[in-house]
């Protein structure tokens, strides 16, 4: 009892009490109402304060484009954003943890960038809990579900070649799309972010939901994507690993220039200096 007494004036104490009370309340509620929806489940599991904190974060950082209730907004030429109802916690975690959202300069592409100061795993979790409470959607995968060591890179490679390389290149180097958009390189993406991108289809990327590409198959693909990052470059330099265009360019421009310079050097007339 002493320890509780000593800490009861701690700034976090009221949250702890609130959490405890909410857990109790939610637990009882969940027991009485087994068919409750996700928002109730969030309360039941003690995430209600996450949802509340997430709502505040949302109002401060996201609502200007996505609307105060995440209903989305459209303002031609101005700040507009899609509705976030039903996008799920995975979409929030992907977008915010990779720095794509909040969007700095509205344009065709949302590039990966350094997240702002307020972003940390805790705030991302709160924001994700709030958006998840609005309409469900894909959730953040567990670390085990995205562990590259547990996937089969050979199977994943086959799936990656069938579904991903058209935009992301065969080693995930990325590539151009239409009207200023591009498929980003997969090099900086964490396994969790790769999973979330497949599950939610961020920006122009299509969705690969769990019923068509199962979580195990997603993990295989993650094993392949992470695995090819460590493959050696037989030529010494991968030249961005974007394929034969750069390699041909270097061979033609670099190699031919060297050959021409060598030919000029060999046949150049040496300046005659009079030594007399």
């Amino acid at each position: 009892m002493n320890s509780i007494t000593a800490r009861r004036r701690h700034p976090l104490a009221r949250y702890a009490v609130l959490l405890l009370a909410l857990s109790l309340l939610g637990g009882v509620y969940a027991l009485l109402m087994p068919g409750g929806d996700r928002a109730d489940a969030a309360i039941a599991s003690g995430k209600a304060d996450d949802v509340a904190a997430g709502k505040e974060l949302f109002a401060a950082h996201c609502a200007s484009c996505h609307g105060l209730n995440a209903e989305g907004s459209y303002a031609p030429g101005g700040a507009s954003g899609p509705s976030l109802i039903g996008v799920g916690a995975a979409a929030v975690d992907f977008q915010v943890s990779s720095g794509r959202m909040p969007f700095a300069n509205p344009g065709p592409q949302a590039p990966r960038k350094r997240p702002p100061e307020w972003v940390n795993p805790e705030t991302v979790k709160q924001l994700a809990a709030y958006v998840q409470s609005l309409g469900g959607g894909p959730t953040k995968p567990s670390l085990e579900a995205v562990d590259p060591a547990k996937g089969d890179p050979a199977k994943g490679g086959e799936l990656f070649r069938a579904n991903c390389i058209q935009c992301h290149n065969f080693v995930g180097a990325g590539g151009a799309l239409t009207y200023g958009k591009y498929a980003p390189s997969l090099e900086p993406a964490t396994p969790t972010q790769i999973y979330e991108a497949m599950a939610t289809g961020p920006q122009a990327m299509p969705v690969f939901n769990d019923s068509t590409i199962t979580p195990e198959q997603k993990r295989d693909m993650i094993a392949y994507i992470v695995g090819v990052r460590h493959e050696p470059n037989p030529g010494g330099n991968g030249l961005g690993r974007i394929g034969p265009v750069t390699e041909g360019l270097v061979a033609w421009v670099g190699g031919l220039s060297l050959l021409i310079i060598a030919a000029i050097w060999i046949t150049a007339k040496k300046r005659q200096v009079n030594h007399d």
Binding site: P206, V207, F208, P234
Partner: protein
């Protein structure tokens, strides 16, 4: 090499050797009195100090090469510098050659990484060896050998009239002696014998065939054939493919490894929100806003599958043909001339996606006899 590379003096040749065949070091001027590029009396010129080469010009026939201007030897100091440089490069070649042998022994192959190391070591050492030998030779030529300009007049290419007359006479004589004109049967059987030989290559042209017939107009899709996910080889339940913005690469059931069939039959399957579909899409051929298009670009047949779910653009990576998937895959940019053909799809009684029929127009790029297949298809409908 000799200690005095500028001079090979015939007087210094060893006893017993013929004075007519002097020891000659490549890259040095010829000995006095020997056959010379500079002409018979080139050796008579003063050497090393270079003068009066042009004076001998008139004494030569027009087609002998003649040195014009001074023959300049580099001064001994820079020649020695050049020699040191070239020798250094030759030493590098020597070491790299040894290195090649050593790397062959040291770096054994076996795994991908070790083979890569071995390739790098072998290729690198050989490249260094050959490059520095070549560079050494160039240094040798540029810094040690003398500099002068040689002029050689062109001479008439044709043989003299006497020689030509002689050849013509021999030819006629030979023809007469062979009896080619007198013995008719001989001549005709020879011609007969050569005729099939001349026609042989024409027979080989048949290997360019057989003609494709109507195979370019059809794919393996037919009514009831299930759509399988490329890679996982699983059939697709329409109810599972339920996230708008989803795309799958699809192959026909039973032809997952038949590349000839897949070259025409591969599909992309796209799930839309119902409100996104535009009039270009034949709704009778969709199921629950799932649309199947040929993956083969109508320009030159690359796999067009770069799909953007926000704009519904399908982009072909080869030549940037862009199709609007929400509007019947009509061309909105690029060199493709026709929309991607849409495959009629439905579901079987287990809920799996199936084809309703083959494509009603030929898939892929244009071909000679294709004609206006769309108009034909419309005429039949």
């Amino acid at each position: 090499m000799t200690d005095n590379p500028n001079e090979i003096n015939p007087g210094e040749i060893e006893p017993g050797e013929s004075p007519r065949v002097p020891r000659r070091v490549i890259g040095t001027p010829p000995p006095r009195g020997g056959d010379s590029l500079l002409g018979p009396d080139a050796g008579a010129r003063p050497r090393g100090d270079g003068n009066g080469a042009a004076a001998a010009h008139d004494a030569h026939p027009a087609d002998e090469p003649v040195a014009v201007g001074e023959i300049k030897y580099p001064d001994p100091q820079s020649a020695r510098k050049g020699e040191r440089r070239a020798s250094l490069l030759f030493l590098v070649t020597f070491l790299a050659g040894i290195g090649f042998v050593a790397s062959y022994v040291i770096f054994q192959v076996g795994s991908v990484e070790r083979t890569a190391t071995s390739n790098l070591a072998l290729g690198g050492s050989l490249a260094v060896a050959l490059l520095s030998m070549a560079a050494g030779m160039v240094v040798w030529a540029r810094q040690i050998m003398p500099k002068y300009t040689l002029v050689q007049q062109r001479h008439p290419m044709a043989s003299s009239p006497e020689v030509r007359e002689d050849v013509a006479k021999t030819f006629i004589e030979g023809a007469n002696e062979s009896g080619f004109l007198r013995h008719k049967m001989l001549r005709r059987t020879l011609l007969l014998a050569s005729a099939p030989l001349g026609l042989l290559p024409l027979v080989l042209l048949k290997d360019l065939g057989p003609l494709p017939g109507t195979s370019l107009r059809h794919t393996v899709w037919k009514k009831g054939l299930r759509l399988m996910v490329e890679g996982t080889r699983q059939p697709i339940r329409a109810a599972d493919f339920n996230s708008p913005g989803g795309i799958l690469s699809v192959v026909p059931e039973g032809h997952e490894d038949d590349l000839n069939a897949l070259a025409k039959a591969t599909l992309i399957l796209i799930k839309f929100r119902p409100e996104d579909l535009k009039p270009g899409v034949n709704l009778n051929w969709t199921h629950d806003s799932i649309v199947a298009y040929s993956k083969i670009c109508t320009h030159v047949g690359c796999p067009a599958a770069l799909y953007e779910q926000t704009t519904h653009h399908i982009l072909c990576p080869c030549h940037q043909s862009t199709f609007d998937a929400a509007d019947g895959a009509k061309v909105i940019f690029g060199p493709a001339a026709r929309p991607l053909p849409q495959l009629p799809i439905g579901v079987d009684n287990e809920g799996y996606l199936i084809a309703q029929s083959d494509f009603n127009v030929p898939v892929g790029p244009s071909f000679w006899e294709r004609g206006d297949a769309e108009a034909e298809a419309r005429g039949q409908a």
